[in-house]
Point group: C2
Chain length 217, copies 2
């Protein structure tokens, strides 16, 4: 039985693969698991029927049989735990990959999202320029630490893992900011992720949703 993933009917990122269904699609593609997609309008996200499975009125969710899950990190983990190419069978390597999964969503992503929200919601505020400089520096600190840790390796810890998958998904949100470009090894790391066939299939699938919605008007 194929799982069903929810995604935006009209993604605000205009098909750039920055919405949170992207990590789930990518993980499913790496795992070679087929899936169904149910598209939701912004109004539907906030309705009780969706909130019953996603308390915060967001995408994605993951439904298979009697199980419904939310939180892209948790969904990626759920998929990854059955596939050694996403989470190693070696217990220590697996634990370290899970550490990078949490680092992606809880250490690297928050300052990136904060910066995006400031650009989106506070650009007319009198404090915007001063605050954006602060936020840029917070992101820079994290990127510098990540760059140091990654060094010249291809992936964060040995083989590609679900930790890389989430980290690269999070880092892609910085596209256009110029901040990734300050660390060529991090930029190369993101590019290696984007070059994976599974990434490209996932990206094409989410782009097709946006393009179809746009064609329909």
């Amino acid at each position: 039985m194929a799982p069903t993933v929810t995604a935006f009917a009209q993604s605000p990122d205009r098909g750039r693969g920055l919405a949170r269904d992207m990590a789930v699609r990518w993980a499913l593609e790496e795992a070679g698991e087929p899936y169904e997609v149910r598209l939701l309008s912004f109004a539907e996200l906030k309705e009780p029927v969706h909130r019953a499975i996603q308390p915060f009125g967001q995408i994605p969710t993951y439904e298979v049989g009697a199980l419904t899950l939310f939180e892209s990190g948790a969904i990626v983990f759920h998929i990854a735990q059955r596939h050694a190419r996403l989470l190693s069978d070696d217990p220590d390597a697996r634990a370290r990959a899970i550490a990078w999964m949490f680092a992606a969503v809880s250490t690297i992503e928050p300052p990136i999202v904060e910066r995006s929200m400031a650009v989106l919601l506070e650009s007319e505020k009198p404090w915007h320029v001063e605050r954006l400089a602060m936020l840029d520096d917070r992101v820079r600190n994290r990127l510098s630490e990540l760059s140091h840790s990654l060094a010249e390796r291809d992936w964060l810890d040995g083989q590609f893992s679900a930790g890389d998958l989430l980290m690269i998904t999070v880092l892609r949100r910085l596209g256009g900011s110029g901040l990734l470009e300050e660390h060529p090894n991090v930029l190369g790391y993101v590019s290696r992720g984007e070059a994976r066939p599974a990434f490209q299939r996932a990206f094409a699938a989410q782009l097709a949703v946006f393009s179809t919605a746009t064609d329909k008007g």
Copy 2:
């Protein structure tokens, strides 16, 4: 072999159990696993020897045998996976508890930390009052959604789990803000967590570190 956890030699929270070693201590106490603690000064956190195991120069870390881990969420998961009282043996219940773990650190915690940082670092800025109101509303939205999802239940999904442990640890950072008090069921939920004997042992252990440091210095 008992694991070693790192913690602040002098916690900036003054022993209120808000530093990130608290969740790890609590999980170890729930699991009934003894552990060692290695205390680090702020200077030691930023040194290469610590960064080699914690790329972002933070606490806690978890070391046992050849394994070193960072990220409190990942460390709690590592402990919890072997204990049914923290992560159910039922695969679906386990997956849902993991979803709440990710929700705690990636959906609930970021706006709470952002608010704390604004209080700490931006209170002299001309924008502080207007921005704090925005940040309060972001936290309020999340608490309202969490309150709705929790309803009148004791825990987020059936039995107490590592999801509750992380969620309650994160919510405790709002102590003193008055925001938790707007949702009596969430306040009661936090109190239920704090009343657990394992929580109290963990709390006493971190408080003892702070008290000893204060007596000495």
